[in-house]
């Protein structure tokens, strides 16, 4: 698409619904540019040609995340992800290393509450290699017992590394406190006791149940010919047999009926504060208005879990930044509303400055959020938030890797239409929509408040 958008740059940012098409062009995604196919075995395939660099990015997404885990097996999705880098029937263990790097490429993967995903971005010449790797990962991973044991230590090390960070520890505790029924409450990395007791068979059974083409989406974006790419995808994946349809049983979180609180008192140097509200899932009408609330409160983050949070938001004029950071009560404030399949959380966090009490920081933070709940936001705040979100959505798609991420991420949690329509949904939000969602979400009985109170280090 690239150069084609330049002629439209005179369109105003503030012209409302008419900009939908224009901004989708800026985002480098749109329904017309994505080739969608469903293979006979149920594998959904999304291909988008993007001829801006001689690269291709391949992502394979599985609709399995920590919300699919039952008690006793928390962390299994993430551990399975680790095991799926350990060689396959046709990629011996000693040939895994360098299999993409020799094409100058990078690879990675992540697991979160709704999804597990794997990616390679490399020279377009490596497209066959990338598709081969992902087809092998889907069908032929090995799960040698000694590899499972070795990885147990690696994952426990990852867990402990996270616990070294008081902010992360508090986040884990606040999330667990906010949910008492829905499995979004347990950490994706799992509870330590489960990681210590899980067996190789637990891992392998889980792998076989969820790593089937009819539970996956393959995304290819880059300097590729879509028709030829689809032929290659069929070649590598077409012979993989579908699995039994995945059935999901997941408790709904009952409405929270009273404020919850927790305090971690532990040796440390810095106090942290978190306030988490149950929030709408991405398909619900309140999601985009709440995204505006977050932009007004803490600055817009965009919608790319892979890249948005790596760049700080534009937030110096945001309400909570002015209330807490500019007045010296906090050194940092942030908000997180992430697109999820089921209702998750809108979390506001603050790093409290030395000499400021957690109570004082909390009072000011809640006062500001209460002001939004009672009085909503202004027209000018709404327009500024929309401008920020539009810019962030442009910046979110600055590489083939990021474009491919966005397509797969949204397909996995509800469909790519959710993403391609994001700008029009943002453009359509009114101050009344914002006021309504603020009244619904930002109530005392819907929140969980967490403190990390540092004790003197002995």
């Amino acid at each position: 698409m690239g150069k084609a958008v330049r002629g439209r740059l005179t369109v105003s940012f503030h012209s409302g619904m008419g900009i939908y098409r224009f901004y989708n062009d800026l985002m480098r995604v749109g329904p017309a540019s994505i080739r969608q196919t469903l293979l006979g075995n149920g594998l959904k395939v999304l291909v988008q040609a993007e001829h801006t660099a001689p690269l291709a990015s391949v992502w394979c997404w599985y609709r399995v995340g920590s919300k699919d885990e039952r008690p006793g097996l928390t962390g299994v999705s993430h551990w399975v992800e680790h095991m799926n880098f350990k060689g396959t029937t046709n990629i011996p263990r000693d040939q895994v290393k360098g299999i993409i790097e020799q094409f100058g490429g990078s690879w990675n993967g992540y697991t979160w509450i709704d999804q597990t995903t794997y990616l390679e971005t490399a020279s377009k010449d490596a497209l066959d290699r990338m598709l081969f790797i992902e087809s092998e990962r889907m069908a032929n991973c090995l799960y040698h017992p000694e590899d499972c044991e070795s990885e147990r230590s690696v994952i426990i090390s990852e867990l402990q590394g996270g616990e070294n960070d008081p902010d992360q520890l508090l986040d884990q505790e606040v999330t667990a406190t906010a949910f008492k029924a829905h499995p979004y409450g347990h950490p994706t990395i799992g509870w330590l006791s489960d990681l210590q007791s899980m067996t190789r068979d637990d891992l392998y059974d889980y792998y076989r149940r969820y790593y089937v083409p009819n539970n996956a989406t393959l995304v290819v974006v880059g300097d590729v010919d879509p028709e030829e790419t689809l032929r290659r995808v069929e070649h590598f994946f077409g012979g993989i047999r579908p699995g039994a349809a995945v059935t999901r049983r997941c408790s709904s979180e009952p409405e929270q009926t009273g404020e919850r609180r927790l305090t971690i008192r532990k040796e440390g140097t810095t106090a942290y504060l978190k306030v988490a509200y149950h929030a709408p899932g991405v398909s619900e009408p309140g999601f985009f208005p709440l995204l505006i609330v977050d932009a007004v409160a803490t600055g817009a983050k965009g919608l790319n879990l892979w890249s948005s949070f790596r760049v700080p938001p534009p937030q110096r004029s945001a309400r909570l930044y002015r209330a807490l950071v500019e007045r010296g009560l906090a050194s940092a404030v942030s908000g997180a509303l992430i697109a999820t399949e089921h209702p998750f959380l809108y979390t506001v966090s603050a790093t409290v400055t030395a000499g400021t009490s957690l109570a004082a920081a909390e009072a000011l933070l809640l006062e500001e959020l209460d002001r939004v709940r009672q009085s909503g936001i202004t027209d000018s705040e709404l327009e500024k938030a929309k401008t920020q979100l539009r810019a962030r959505l442009v910046f979110d798609t600055d590489s083939v890797t990021n474009i491919a991420h966005q397509l797969g991420y949204f397909e996995t949690i509800g469909g790519i239409d959710l993403y391609t329509a994001a700008l029009s949904k943002i453009a359509a939000v009114t101050v009344d929509d914002v006021a309504q969602v603020a009244r619904q979400v930002l109530t005392p009985s819907n929140r969980t408040i967490g403190w990390f109170e540092p004790l003197p280090i002995v």
Binding site: T52, R152, E158
Partner: protein
């Protein structure tokens, strides 16, 4: 496609590199001032860092509040970073915002107002950040390693953020003096990459910086770093933590060292390739001892470090260090295999299109090119420079730096002091 950036030197000495790239309707602006933490005044560690927190909080023409509204209204995040030798202002904006944003950033560089109330607020933020660092084993291990490798007040051994004491002592006059000493057009490189014509970029930069007149400061003198004479192991007990972080390192080379590319290949094979090179194979993959382990080479104006870092269970600290020692011994004694060298070479060459895919990536690459005077065609030359490195040169690089008997090792975490 070669980058072929345009390079212009304004008559006041400021350098502009511009590269048109129309992948997205956005522009990356990267302004680098040769005024890093190495220029902190004696006893004033962290002064440059504090300046970086305040420099964008008011100019001779605009208040902090007006700047906040301007940036937020355009959806822009401005990042100000400090390294040993450079203070950078970096942002990505939509193409239509390029001119006003460049002018705003230029004002910050040329005439920051450094308001006292902003200094007080940012000082509190920095002190909180230092307190967070003091509770972070990874940061403490790395900073302590640097202090041990570069003792005696060497600028690479000092904390970039400073200490709570030094930051509390910094005055507005100190910041003004620092700006007066190091900020000058002859020390500035402006890089503009994106959906903007290079001629327009040149004109905008000339308008923004052309009237700035000031003599160019002499480069900061950085002493040569001596290799450690003996092995040293330091334990920083942090009994409130669950995991230990290891920082294991040596002084290495300056970027100007003719053997730089041999060192780069050696470091890649040793501690980067795939999931941490040989170190990753051993410590993470074979022994399952760490979630992360890797090495990094920070060749700088003076001899920068080669550092190995890992996060491990406290029970595995000794085994992990023994594995590092063993891998060093094996590399020094036997060298790389031809396959390893070939793999790292192919990776470093082949990864360039990814590194240069985004406007921000190209801008960072060009800043490096200008700072180290690598040549405007460095993107074209680099593959051949890597291809021409021989096995002997790579193995010589390993022998020159890696020696377990002279390693400096810092462990921070739940480990008792010796």
């Amino acid at each position: 496609m070669p980058l072929e950036p345009s390079r212009t030197v304004l008559d006041n000495g400021a350098v502009l590199l511009a590269k048109e790239a129309r992948t997205t309707p956005s522009v990356a602006i990267n302004l680098a001032m040769r005024a890093g933490s190495a220029g902190d005044p004696p006893g004033g560690d962290g002064t440059t860092w504090l300046l970086s927190r305040v420099i964008d909080r008011g100019t001779s023409k605009r208040s902090a509040s007006a700047i906040a509204e301007d940036l937020d209204g355009r959806g822009i995040t401005l990042s100000v970073t400090v390294t040993r030798h450079v203070l950078s202002l970096v942002c990505t904006c939509l193409a239509e915002d390029f001119d006003p944003v460049l002018h705003l950033m230029a004002e910050m560089i040329v005439s920051p107002s450094l308001p006292p109330d902003e200094i007080a607020t940012r000082k509190r933020e920095v002190i909180t950040a230092i307190r967070q660092d003091l509770d972070n084993p990874a940061v403490l291990a790395t900073e302590t390693l640097m202090a041990r490798l570069y003792p005696g007040g060497h600028p690479y051994g000092r904390r970039t953020k400073g200490s709570i004491d030094t930051v509390e002592r910094v005055t507005r006059e100190d910041l003004v003096s620092l700006h007066e000493t190091w900020f000058a057009p002859g020390a500035l490189t402006a890089v503009v990459v994106g959906d903007v014509d290079p001629v327009r970029a040149n004109d905008a930069a000339a308008t923004a910086f052309g009237s700035w007149r000031k003599p160019t400061p002499a480069p900061i003198a950085v002493p040569h770093a001596r290799p450690a004479a003996r092995r040293e192991r330091v334990i920083i007990p942090m009994m409130n933590k669950v995991q230990a972080d290891i920082a294991y390192g040596f002084t290495a080379i300056a970027r100007s060292n003719p053997a730089y590319h041999a060192f780069s290949l050696m470091n890649n094979a040793f501690g980067q390739y795939a999931l941490g090179g040989r170190l990753g194979d051993s410590i993470r993959e074979r022994h399952g001892m760490a979630y992360y382990v890797s090495s990094s080479l920070d060749a700088n104006v003076a001899e920068g470090p080669l550092t190995i870092r890992a996060g491990v269970s406290p029970a595995n600290v000794d085994r992990a260090i023994a594995s590092m020692d063993e891998e060093i011994g094996r590399l020094v004694a036997d060298g790389l295999t031809p396959r390893e060298l070939d793999e790292s070479r192919r990776f470093l060459i082949g990864s360039m299109p990814r590194a240069l895919e985004t406007n921000a990536g190209i801008a960072a690459f060009l800043q490096n090119v200008e700072f180290f005077q690598l040549g405007l065609d460095y993107d074209v030359q680099l593959p051949e420079l890597l291809r021409s490195v021989t096995m002997d040169e790579v193995n010589a690089a390993a022998r020159a730096v890696l020696n377990a008997n002279r390693a400096t090792i810092v462990v921070a975490g739940p480990c008792a002091a010796p």
